[in-house]
Symmetry: C4
Subunit: 370 residues, 4 copies
């Protein structure tokens, strides 16, 4: 028996702007309105949650050295990636099952992303279909994160559909070939309360009432450079390898044709006992040496975090849980509120640190906090 | 709606000597008598208050090596700066809006400073006028901290007035071109309950009922070496650049004509995520290499802290919040009690560390606490 | 008077499979059903339990660098040692007095080990006889841990019996020539509630109603390289020296004929103030340089810990307290559940870290967590 | 008004053996029977008690590397200093005002020390007279700790009396020329509830009803190498300089004729903000390089601590507060119980670490705990 009543999963429904003082408050607020099984799934991580904590702790080991005579006012947060000009250096990270947070599912997030104006990442484990999400996006740019089938014909089929939907890049998540040791989900006997239209083609069922372990078992569990090559060649789109945590993998990925490196430890949800994601960024950035762009996620909760990631070699930062809490608390308007908070916060940090542009941020000096 | 009723802000009014065992107790005591909006404004800092905590933690990473055969008795705390002989190596830091702590506003602080006998820093964001403060100072030395107008003619006007008032140095605060991310003020919807006579000339209003963000927005938000040069040349007074947190800015400031470097992170109130102010002092001091004096603030709560700052390259230490708590608890007499505590405490530390003079302190050895 | 009523020690009796989400939960659960004197004996350590905590803390100072393009699926956990092929790189550590945890004593543990399929270590301080344990083992491999008598003729006698029982290696515990400073046992006035058939030949009594200090005092308290040589030559079996915490001792042991090094600090039960066992592993492994196999114990609670130990030079990991908690909670079936948990957890870690085989694990990179 | 009613200070009176599981328990137990003013005086330290905590924390930064094949049994704890053969490498530290802990005052401590069999240090701030203490000592060796008068004739007089009493060494405490910033005493308005016969010759009064500050003010507040020379030459006895926390002072002291260096930070009671005493030991020991013996105190609570101090260069360790708690809890028998605990604990540590003699301990390896 599970503690998630999949027939009566009562996701939040409200749509409203929300006040964001900081994103930690959002987690607390969301915990009160999202059903426990869903909230634990979103907020939880693997094992002792050591790596989840390290994702946050890692920020505290580096300090931003503010420059105060930099003649800076009204900083410019805009940047671009793969031909998309975006007004901020952050985008939406791919996350499964937004429907746990809000009844509008990924379509709600997509509309918030679109209204704000940045890039949406669509997870193959979405509870909404490409069409539903497309309505929310309303023409905004989108990338597609694939969880591969064991059957490459089906993978082609998925990629075809993503391209048809307008995806301009493919994100290959390589760090999730099976589920991390998620104690909360195990205790809750968590199963998804709704299906997953995009991958249901290769599941025995729709995804509904299935556990994450079960779904992973039916997905491809063995990811290699050849997969990067296959996706890249078949789709003709730039491919990110997501979940890179070492210089070695970054080089392997680039060698296999990756157009971008996505540094992430999956928000601490996969291998517990790994270092904080930010701790590995500098090593990876040095190895990549500017050949391809680097997206960073895992543990980003403040403007300062975005700043530190950019100053350590990231080109773009992806936001995950905080956006989902915004979705829970206010639907698409809540998503927009969260993104506006990050924009406001990063802008303030940039000015206080004495940086006019994202290029300035990238050249900023961090110091070790002993 | 704000939680600060600006028409009925009931600042403390008592004037009495206070017993100071340590300054942490003062914060606790002040929290009970200062209205919440005002207390949070004074005691709070930005973001997660990481930098605020680092300001304190930084002291614990260095230990004073006491010398016990140094033939020391009755240490001499006197020093001098810019021609002022002062009996202690600490002065009052510039702080806005003392009226939040006590109805006598900056005039109360000024009288306490004067009675004790050190230098007052007058903030451009004072709630009292130059004249009111002058009465408190009663001829004592004073420096003036400018928040610049966007209009240099008004800046000249302010500088003229400060000079006429007798300021012997100008402090240019460069780290506060907009407000830090102050959660408490945001939650309290804090606005100042009284006006600011010195800068009201460039505000749309007096400052009363305005938020800090609002006031910063009407001040000059873009500070550059040229501003240092302008103030220095126009006023003919020595200029400190306050908020320096890097060797690079110290050198820029000196190059632009700064007569002194003021190492500070604004008490953790501006860029959260920055290192503790004391952590940056040694680097800056090495870069300055004695060419101009260094004033240090942010996190000074004990005689040991003053000692450590001087031993790391500071020439003078500026005290902020603890003095304001003294003002809240006992008006000008409370201010005097706090200063006497610091004098007593530093004197004891100097003797226990085996240092007869401030020059001895500067040559003392600190060790890393692992 | 003792708090352990040795005539009515009511050890748990239930035999059932148990659900293992993590092993920390097991300690909590066991504390509720094992009599206090027995539970404190099992879970407690010496002194301030500084070293016990360091055994756990040490894991958090190293992070596993996951490799995500490693083409890994369904990792192979099998390895071999001294001619035994085992399906996992972990075995049972020698522990005294399993009867404190369950009425089936070591025979229960042995059956769980045998059903799961790894190597049992039989402690000379077992509460069960060789024959009783043999029934549980049912032909499975076993090693024998000797606590030496002061009389070498009795040692020969014990070794003869162990060989007759089928032991294929001898473990000489060298770090326990007297009891650590175990506060809990001292406060509980703990004495064993049953005898110890294997060593009763050299005790004045059976071991029942005796304290650990008392028993150690009657055992050999002076262990030297000559003892390694004696046991090795007399038994003709490979000898491990257990309790090695320095490169120096590893080399001494090998020089004296040890066939294996067993890195351990006895679960923090002996010298408090020693570093975490894992902290010493790398130094020892470098000194041993592959000449003999290394077994590691002390503080292993998760699959990640096994991974980190192997990646730092261990060949085999031995499990102690968590298995005993499994015994308490479910008898032999509980033991099996715990071992299956470790197998499942290590397998997941291996895949998420990108390692197909135990040899891959050994070559994995760990990073310092600052 | 003070919180110590000096006319009715009810010190404990019981004389009995006590059970010592660890010395931290003793502090807790003593807090319940010693009047608050007295207990706070004994247990408290200066400032934030940062240095007090560092005295304990410092031990946790070094681990003992146990040697397990060392052929050790029944270790020999005996050593000698200045011609005294003592059975353990620890002695009594000089402490003022034992009468706060027990009505038998220093005479009680002295009897416990004598019955156990080590060296007593008699503080010039004793509440008992030389004669009273002599009765307790019953011929046992004693050293005398001088707090100097401003008048050298009186110092000669005190030294004469100490020599007549049989002191075989003089301890010159150099780190206490005035009182540390002791918050608890200040809050308690602590004054001594009895006089100090040895120094009353130079006080305006007996010491009764005087604060520590007051007493220090009437003592010599300026200690220099010349004082070491004076005491050494006048007394003809070996002189320790106590309170040394730097290599520089150790060399100064030896240059001035010190026969021994006493590394101490006065139990954290003087300069708060100094490193833990143990953190400075290695530096000092290297500078002394065996020319004179080193006594170590401050923070010693366990056998492991004694071991670590000896392994870092100390020749003898002095015990303070734990002995006074023993005195409070059981008079001279309690003192003896505490000393026996330390003997038992150190003996165990020596065996578990594989050291047969104190010389072996001194050559033991410690490792940094990261």
């Amino acid at each position: 028996m599970t503690t998630v009543d999949t027939n009566h999963y009562a996701a939040p429904t409200e749509i409203k702007e929300i006040t964001v003082v900081n994103t930690y408050d959002l987690e607390e607020a969301a915990s009160k309105i999202v059903p426990k099984g869903g909230f634990d799934y979103i907020s939880g991580a693997s094992g002792d949650e050591f790596t989840l904590r390290q994702n946050i702790e890692a920020w505290n080991k580096k300090g931003i050295v503010p420059r105060v005579l930099a003649d800076v006012e009204n900083p410019d947060l805009s940047t671009s990636i793969f031909g998309h000009d975006i007004k901020v250096p952050f985008i939406m990270a791919p996350i499964a099952a937004h429907g746990l947070a809000h009844e509008t599912k990924e379509a709600g997030t997509a509309k918030g992303i679109s209204e704000f104006g940045t890039i949406m990442s669509i997870s193959a484990y979405s509870g909404a279909s490409f069409d539903e999400i497309d309505k929310g996006l309303n023409g905004s740019p989108r990338w597609f994160q694939i969880y591969m089938s064991k059957d490459d014909e089906l993978n082609k089929n998925i990629l075809d559909e993503a391209k048809a939907d307008g995806a301009t890049a493919i994100i290959l998540t390589a760090d999730a070939t099976l589920s991390g040791n998620r104690h909360k989900d195990e205790r809750n006997k968590f199963v998804y309360p709704f299906g997953m239209p995009i991958v249901s083609r290769y599941l025995t069922g729709t995804g509904k009432n299935m556990s994450l372990n079960n779904i992973y078992a039916q997905s491809k569990q063995k990811i290699a450079p050849a997969d990067v090559k296959f996706i890249s060649e078949y789709s003709g789109l730039p491919v990110f390898v997501k979940g890179v945590q070492s210089a070695e993998d970054a080089l392997l990925a680039i060698g296999a044709g990756a157009a971008g490196i996505w540094v992430s430890n999956h928000g601490g949800r996969q291998l517990d006992g790994a270092p904080g994601s930010f701790e590995m960024l500098e090593e990876i950035s040095k190895a990549v040496a500017g050949r391809v762009p680097i997206v960073f996620d895992s543990g980003v909760r403040r403007g300062e975090h975005i700043f530190k990631a950019l100053a350590s070699g990231a080109d773009i930062v992806a936001l995950g849980r905080p956006v989902l809490y915004g979705l829970a608390l206010g639907g698409w308007k809540g998503v927009q509120s969260v993104l506006e908070y990050f924009e406001r916060d990063l802008k303030r940090v940039m000015q206080l640190a004495g940086t006019q542009t994202i290029e300035d941020v990238k050249k900023s000096r961090l110091v070790d906090i002993k």
